[in-house]
Subunit: 299 residues, 2 copies
């Protein structure tokens, strides 16, 4: 099994995790949580989303969070920015990195950002240009790369088209999202083989959800093709609160536990990660789906 | 990714799953559940354990269950048999296949069956001889192959020694157990490479627990080495009831969903599996850890 010696983990729990949780987390708790995350060895934390609070009420305090956190040296703090209005807040808070997002499938893009795919690029171009002009790097999320809740299987050429357009607009890294957690390892391999013919592994990150329990298997399939950047949410935040098994993002703690077990370095402190996951679990008020956390919790 | 075209799934939920559940399931419900399982396409169901009821109270009704189930043609019904006393019940119930078990590590073997490893073989020999004399095949479980709760890492040569002794005693198949769910895909590959030098893949089954979320990743690692028999428990039964994420056996429904998605045939009907998992979930009275089941349940 060919594995890289080290990988980079990007923590998206404060954004992708919390935006899907029903429990409202108080702003000071979010800030304390992010400050704890900054001391786990993480080098990249996505702290919030500058979207219209009407769309995502749990992240309505984006500006307060972004202004309130400690900015530890060596850690990149990023936030989702959908448009120029969000860009204003981002620049005022002076975070380090912008993240833009769109979908690989028309229907999901339409439902999620109310625009056709080709109408989305000009809006993102504005944001990306403004970010670059202000010396900020931009990361791009492509959702529904492996399957769409409305269209079913995603055409890999369509996903590649969207991805390449984003790269042309000036993003430095693409995060390929299995938004609804349907990808399997064979599919991951096949999709990545197509992508890797056009885009170097260094520009790709994988963003898996554990909805059907395949997230870690998909990580291993990606590692074997040379991918070295993975998104995770501590504790597996972001699952449906009414179904313990229906996880959200792959749990950063599960991911790191597996990687360390296979001698793949992450630079992260497992005990500090678990302590941070427990902190947020207490605030959320229910057991989080992370397997590693639960083995610590109880059995 | 080199994958087999088809695999065999052996359902251990009624035994390995229920023996670890705190909720006591009524005998008629167990029987009805097994009867439903027999109509999912499963060809092998481990229905109970003829151990001393003092050890495993949830399976104290082993004889009633074994006598009460429908015996569908083409399905092998097996049960765990630890000793000659258990063998009496097994033969009286006239199930199809005996399963014997022991551990790869001394301490776990001592704690689990109160004997040293080398003292265990003569006891199992008696059971195996009696089974073979009565025209019954014998399957052998080796526990703690990838790690032991008392000894930590397991010496692969010790696991191989126990396995080879069991094969010499006349078992037809070895089920290699990651009893505490600590194996990672790299370790699975390394251990299996050692085993496959001595034992053909056709004589090996893999028995993963999803304690740390790596079960499906470990299945994929095994598939890539040509393994084609996997144990599962429907719904991921057998987890700690107080920790939703701390799963028991890999969920048969998750396993089958992944395999079918990768065009690996199992002969199983996914909808019938989910319906059977829901039946037992209702009896257990809490959401089971299976991811696939939970996506159906709620979100």
């Amino acid at each position: 099994m060919k594995l890289p010696t080290s990988v980079t983990i990007k923590e998206v729990g404060p954004r992708d995790g919390l935006q899907n949780e029903k429990t409202v987390i108080a702003t000071p708790d979010k800030i304390e949580w992010i400050n704890r995350l900054s001391r786990t060895g993480l080098k990249h934390i996505e702290v919030t989303s500058f979207v219209n609070p009407k769309w995502i009420p749990p992240l309505a305090d984006s500006f307060e969070v972004a202004m309130g956190i400690e900015r530890v040296e060596g850690v990149t703090y990023s936030a989702l920015v959908p448009n120029m209005r969000g860009m204003e807040g981002f620049l005022k808070a002076n975070l380090d990195e912008v993240a833009v997002f769109m979908s690989a499938t028309e229907t999901h893009n339409q439902k999620n950002i109310n625009k056709a795919i080709d109408e989305t690029f000009p809006v993102l171009k504005e944001v990306i240009d403004e970010a670059l002009k202000n010396g900020k790097r931009v990361r791009g999320y492509v959702s529904t790369v492996f399957g769409c809740p409305y269209e079913g299987a995603t055409d890999v050429q369509q996903a590649l088209y969207v991805s390449q357009k984003l790269l042309e607009l000036g993003i430095h890294e693409l995060s390929l999202g299995d938004t609804i957690g349907v990808a399997n390892p064979l599919q991951v391999q096949r999709v990545l083989e197509v992508f890797l013919r056009e885009i170097p592994a260094e520009q790709l990150a994988m963003h898996f959800h554990d909805t059907r329990g395949m997230a870690l298997a998909n990580v291993v399939a990606s590692l074997q093709l040379g991918l070295t950047t993975f998104d995770g949410a501590l504790g597996g935040l972001g699952g449906c609160p009414y179904a313990p098994g229906a996880s959200g993002n792959v749990a950063t703690d599960d991911l790191v536990h597996m990687l360390h077990g296979m001698n793949v370095q992450t630079g992260l402190d497992e005990a500090a990660l678990i302590a941070s996951a427990q902190f947020m679990q207490d605030k959320i008020g229910r057991p989080l789906p992370s397997h590693t956390l639960q083995t610590v919790n109880a059995c």
